[in-house]
């Protein structure tokens, strides 16, 4: 049998109809289940339910159409059909195994190589820059006292800038840590009912400005590096006689 040959694109809408042939073949299970329920034969009811469950599970897999789902659908259908044949069809264990294997093989042949999409991508790895505790503390500040919000928002912006360039910005990190520490202490006092001094808004503004300046500083370093890079490349092109 050919291995997986499907593309990694999202299957089209009619993928949902892949299981319809199986459903059509399994239609006799429905009246059988009704009659079995009427007769009250537990073995028969169980077998019918197993067959229907196998068909439904296989159809669900075929509809989902992630990689290897068609193979799993074959296994589910095989197990369901085997159980149904053994318990409700009166074939006994050997007949059940044979019919189950036939169903599995048929599904493998019919659905082998159909287009399936890749499994969902694993979640992105957490930031490895050691700033996660600061992120959590800032999130708490941002949802806390509204008087501290301008400074906390600016600190959040600075944190984003630092995240983009984890190797740089020692000074910016210092500003961030100092700002978050200070804001946390102020927020704790305010939460305990302290009356804010008149100088608090000025301090919050100063902190916000310091954070913005530190962020600008980081970006300026980046801009400077880009300027140098552009100049070097231009010189090189000139030397090579390309431009």
């Amino acid at each position: 049998l050919n291995p997986y040959r499907g593309g990694d694109k999202l299957p089209t809408w009619w993928t949902a109809l892949r299981g319809v042939p199986i459903a059509a073949m399994a239609l006799p299970f429905i009246p059988s289940l009704m009659l079995a329920l009427a007769g009250g034969n537990g073995r028969l009811i169980g077998g019918c339910l197993a067959g229907i469950a196998g068909v439904v599970a296989a159809m669900a897999r075929l509809r989902r159409a992630r990689r290897h789902d068609a193979r799993q659908a074959g296994v589910l259908l095989g197990v369901g059909t085997g159980l149904a044949a053994a318990f409700a069809g009166g074939t006994g264990p050997i007949g059940g195994v044979v019919l189950g294997l036939m169903a599995w093989g048929g599904a493998r042949l019919l659905y082998d190589g159909v287009v399936e999409m890749a499994p969902p991508a694993p979640p992105p790895p957490p930031h490895a820059d050691g700033l996660d505790p600061v992120r959590a503390r800032l999130a708490a500040l941002l949802s806390g006292d509204p008087r501290l919000l301008p400074a906390a928002t600016a600190m959040r912006g600075l944190l984003d800038e630092i995240t983009l360039r984890p190797a740089e910005g020692t000074q910016a990190r210092r500003v961030l840590m100092m700002g978050v520490d200070g804001l946390e202490r102020i927020a704790a006092r305010l939460a305990r009912g302290a009356a804010p001094p008149e100088t608090l808004p000025a301090l919050v503004d100063d902190l916000a400005r310091a954070a913005r300046d530190a962020g600008h500083g980081l970006r300026a370093t980046e801009t400077e590096a880009l300027d140098i890079q552009v100049k070097v490349l231009q010189d090189r092109l000139r030397q090579e006689g390309i431009a």
Binding site: G51, A85, G106, L109
Partner: protein, 40 residues
């Protein structure tokens, strides 16, 4: 001697036939059993 692989349409047809012979036949068997169970 290398085995000749089935072409895709032949493979699909064979799969369909196998499914019909297994799932369809099992369904019919259960139906017969269920009907017979009513008269037992």
């Amino acid at each position: 001697m290398k085995p000749v692989p089935l072409s895709t349409p032949a493979r699909r047809l064979a799969g369909f036939a196998l499914l019909a012979a297994s799932v369809g036949f099992t369904g019919l068997l259960t139906f017969v059993q269920a009907v017979a169970g009513l008269f037992r």
